[in-house]
């Protein structure tokens, strides 16, 4: 029973092992891609066919598999599939570790897929580590000095973050005598007051999580790492690992710390403050960037800020609302990131430059990619008719409903700031005259990804209820 419920993760981990083993036999380029896509598809089929309408607690409470888990599994699988499909362009650079790259991607995926289901501090900790350690390695896979630096920065800051998080967990454990999230919740609600030790534990834990999602001031590794990593890994970091991080924050905080109301409101407000800080500084920092990856890193940080609004809402409303909203935003964000990164990967590889200035006249050199890139950027701004608009609308609606209107106003003003730098890219693409005029061809697989994501962005922008319905069925049901 236990193992069957996590069969998608088992399949993914198994696929990773198969890839390693196959690598001993054959070094064909498409072999790892095919196998991993195959594994992902199988895992997705298993996820989709299983019924998780009632939460299943397995491994003695270490994991809770429910709608929330399965929804995020699907998102993560989809993102990973996207990353794998667009990685083909990086074959030349990653040839020496092509199979390992895929294996690591899938190992990380295993961890990430389990993160949203963590039902215990120990499993939370371990799944995070399982997810993040392959990312350290992948960031350094190019093995040049920038890539290694990216990896080192992430690893060292990540180590500090792990220690801080663990310290927080230790305090939570000490205060509640439990590591199981449900039990912790019960223990806290039976307390007469929230002690200093517990509060310290909760907030240190939050700090550790904030590293994961690159929230200010725990974000500083992110731009450097994003810039130095291979671009598909950047995409993976900014989409998948952020999504998993958000998911685990929601899981842990809603399950364990929603009672009593005062506690819930307190961390809600603290997340709100971090959110305001994150989006404002993220956007301001992005304003001056000329390196596209770095710019997207800061934009990603700003989006962390918007996502944290959802967490703040969860806190303030005691976990009542906000989960479907957050799920929708995560999906929209993932789509937009893929839509933006896929062309960026192809183009930067072709141009051998990450500078936005070199994108001049791209609209004439590769209309389809430029169109999808622009669409993705528009979605990131949050303009209709894209998924980004609906996502922001939902999240702002939720925040306004919870009395966080001040945060909404900060957020929408931030949208205005962000429009400036996103539009700057759009402007360069469409308005500047190209230096060279030969066409940039779009390879098949990334082409497929761009078209799919673009369709998804528009579809969700016009008919968001397609996903919202699903998301509403995928909330964490509190005991």
């Amino acid at each position: 029973m236990n193992w069957i419920t996590i069969i998608p993760e088992v399949i993914i981990a198994g696929t990773a092992l198969v890839i390693i083993l196959l690598d001993l036999i054959s070094h064909k380029r498409f072999l790892p891609t095919t196998v991993s896509i195959g594994g992902i598809v199988v895992a997705a089929i298993f996820t989709l066919t299983a019924d998780y309408s009632t939460p299943l607690t397995i491994f003695g409470g270490l994991l809770t598999i429910d709608g929330w888990s399965s929804f995020l599994r699907i998102i993560l699988l989809a993102v990973t599939a996207g990353v794998i499909l667009v990685s083909g362009d990086y074959y030349a650079k990653l040839k020496h570790s092509w199979a390992e790259y895929h294996a690591l991607l899938l190992f990380a995926l295993t961890g990430m897929m389990l993160m949203p289901s963590a039902g215990d501090l120990i499993s939370a900790f371990i799944t995070i580590e399982v997810a993040i350690i392959p990312l350290f390695i992948m960031a350094g896979l190019l093995k040049d000095s920038r890539s290694c630096e990216a990896s080192l920065k992430m690893m060292l800051i990540g180590g500090i973050a792990s220690a801080i998080m663990l310290y927080g967990m230790a305090f939570i454990f000490g205060s509640t005598a439990n590591t199981n999230l449900g039990e912790i919740s019960l223990a806290i609600s039976s307390m007469s007051e929230v002690s200093g030790g517990l509060m310290l534990g909760i907030l240190l834990l939050a700090a550790g999580f904030c590293f994961e999602v690159a929230a200010i001031p725990f974000h500083m590794w992110a731009p450097d790492t994003y810039e130095g990593s291979p671009t598909p890994v950047t995409l993976y970091l900014s989409a998948a690992s952020k999504i998993a991080g958000m998911a685990i924050i929601v899981r842990v905080f809603t399950t364990a710390f929603t009672n009593p109301q005062s506690l819930s409101a307190e961390w809600g407000i603290i997340f709100a403050a971090i959110s305001a800080l994150t989006m404002t500084l993220g956007n301001l920092l992005a304003l001056q960037q000329t390196n596209i990856k770095r710019l997207l890193a800061y934009s990603g940080i700003a989006h962390t800020g918007y996502l944290l609004i959802g967490i703040a809402v969860l806190g303030v409303s005691q976990g009542q609302d906000g989960q479907p909203t957050l799920l929708f935003y995560l999906a929209a964000f993932a789509l937009a990131e893929i839509a933006v990164f896929t062309p960026v990967i192809v183009i930067t590889r072709y141009l051998k430059s990450d500078e936005t200035g070199d994108f001049a006249g791209l609209g004439q050199r590769s209309p389809l990619m430029s169109l999808v890139l622009s669409l993705g950027l528009i979605s990131l701004i949050g303009l209709p008719p894209t998924a980004g608009f609906m996502a922001k609308l939902y999240i702002f609606t939720g925040a306004a409903n919870s009395g966080l209107l001040w945060l909404v106003i900060i957020a929408v003003l931030n949208t205005v700031i962000s429009a400036y730098y996103y539009l700057k890219i759009i402007k360069i693409i469409w308005l500047k005259e190209p230096v060279y005029t030969e066409k940039i061809s779009l390879p098949l697989l990334p082409g497929l990804v761009t078209i799919l994501t673009a369709t998804g962005l528009i579809l969700l922008g016009i008919a968001p209820y397609l996903l919202i319905k699903l998301a509403e069925g995928s909330v964490i049901i509190l005991p």
Binding site: L383, N401, I409, V416, A419, Y420, P464
Partner: protein, 492 residues
């Protein structure tokens, strides 16, 4: 799918078709744009004719569930005001296509954006659901950004981004307002909100705050001092067609929004803060007019004159009497026609002479008599000379604003804003003098006069201006039920 939806989405379909046409086939592109703006125009004329003026209210409503989770629906419909604005928009879009007939720089993209712009503006006017309204409100940014930034002139990129950021800024406040309303009343439907008594509900925000959130959102668009500085830049640097759409139809979204939401939903707040807003209106009129006098670029001059003219809209709206509301609505439509004409003819002028600086132009009346005549008509409308729609609109605003019994300070503001007419005369007469009259300059000896097509589309606008000016019943009939029911909010 009702007629209204067809009007609304026809341009988008046209835009998609245009994208599919090969880039080399410019003719087909143009004719597609022509057809797909002509059909909405015809249909909206049909709607205008078949609108039931006796019963008033929202008609041709269409309803479909859209996002049930937050009770947002695809709900569209028009009343007299929005139908008039729809007609104005379809007309100006059609004219914009004709105006751009000679576009040679990437015509495919140009017409596609233009058509998209039409849909987004129409969407704002027909939406009866605040969320839908907001979406169309924001969508409009993208086409306009490209139209200004790609086909514009001067500091076009600066102007385009300024326009977008300004509008987003306003939209930010508006969104907050929409959300606050939604949490107060639990619906996005304008029709339901009209029937809601907010004072009985727990409010997400104080109503006055919500009112001002909306007000700022619309004020940026209208534009109201001190949020107006995007307008001269955007209008000046936009291509002619975009200028026409901007001045003729797009900034009307602000006035329409104020009418529909600021007044319709917050009558008490509107009344309470009316003196403040009327003061802003007076600033708009006088200050805007004074600045217009100082402009040396002919397009910029017309752009600033819009600031002044939109002040009359604000004056009429917030004087809160039936007559003043009628005046404001008339002014919205009349200004759309007049400024549309002025921008169209200025576009021809700049295109033919390659000169936009007033000081360098001069004595053109002899060389381009027809163009001069058309400009004179536009100018006369802007000056509110009787016979033109501008006169009807502004006089109605004055009569209504002065005689209002709702806002006690309105008469004083009305008297001050009368000077706006003087200022308008001053800048229009001076422009005519400097650009068209006086000794002809040999440099412009070979300037072409207007072509037949230009004559036709200018002629259409001229006819509309005079038709409303001479027989205002044409449009008052359809506006009457709207303003009458609105005026009931303050006791008729």
């Amino acid at each position: 799918m009702g007629i209204l939806s067809i009007i609304l989405f026809m341009p988008v379909i046209g835009a998609l078709l245009i994208v599919l046409i090969p880039a080399s086939n410019v003719r087909l592109t143009k004719y597609t744009a022509f057809v797909f703006t002509l059909i909405p125009l015809m249909l909206s004329l049909y709607l205008f004719g078949s609108y039931d003026r006796m019963s008033g209210g929202f008609q041709f409503e269409e309803f479909a569930q859209w996002i049930p989770a937050i009770n947002a629906n695809y709900h569209i419909g028009v009343d007299g005001l929005s139908l008039s604005l729809v007609l104005l928009t379809t007309l100006l879009s059609f004219i914009s296509v004709l105006v751009s007939w000679k576009t040679s720089f990437r015509p495919r993209a140009f017409f596609a954006w233009l058509l998209l712009l039409e849909t987004s503006i129409l969407g704002v006017f027909v939406s009866l659901d605040l969320l839908l309204f907001f979406i169309f409100w924001e969508i409009e940014l993208i086409p306009m950004y490209f139209l200004i930034a790609l086909w514009g002139s001067g500091r076009r990129e600066y102007s385009a981004i300024k326009y977008v950021l300004y509008t987003l800024f306003g939209g930010a406040f508006m969104l907050a307002g929409i959300l606050s309303l939604y949490f107060t009343a639990g619906t996005f439907s304008v029709v339901e909100l009209y029937q809601t008594d907010f004072s009985l509900l727990a409010q997400a925000l104080p109503l006055a705050a919500t009112f001002f959130l909306f007000f700022i959102g619309f004020a940026v668009k209208l534009p109201v001092f001190p949020f107006h500085t995007w307008l001269p830049d955007a209008h000046t640097d936009a291509p002619t067609a975009a200028s026409i759409m901007l001045a003729g139809s797009l900034i009307k979204m602000g006035g329409y929004g104020m009418f529909r939401i600021c007044l319709g939903l917050f009558p008490d707040e509107a009344q309470h803060y009316a003196p403040l807003i009327l003061a802003l209106a007076v600033v708009n009129i006088v200050y805007g007019g004074a600045i217009t006098l100082k402009q040396t670029d002919i397009k910029r001059l017309i752009a600033y004159s819009s600031v002044s003219h939109m002040g009359f809209v604000l004056l009429g709206l917030f004087a809160l009497s039936e007559l003043s509301l009628l005046g404001a609505s008339l002014q919205l439509i009349s200004h759309g026609l007049i400024t549309g004409l002025l921008f169209a003819v200025t576009g021809i002028l700049i295109h033919n002479t390659h000169e936009r600086h007033i000081k360098k132009l001069g004595g053109l009346a002899r060389q381009v008599p027809v163009l001069t005549a058309i400009f004179v008509v536009g100018g006369v409308g802007a000056m509110a000379v009787p016979g033109t729609s501008g006169f009807i609109a502004e006089v109605t605003v004055f009569l209504g604003a002065f005689s209002t019994s709702v806002v006690s300070s309105a008469p004083v503001f009305t008297l001050i804003s009368l000077t706006g007419i003087l200022l308008a005369a001053a800048y229009i007469l001076t422009t005519l003098l400097k650009v068209f009259f006086g000794p002809p300059k040999p440099t412009f000896d070979h300037v072409h006069d207007v072509t037949l097509m230009e004559k036709i589309y200018c002629g259409v606008l001229v006819v509309c201006i005079f038709a409303i000016g001479l027989y205002p019943k044409l449009i008052i009939d359809i506006l009457e039920p709207v303003v009458a029911s609105m005026a009931l909010l303050w006791g008729g």
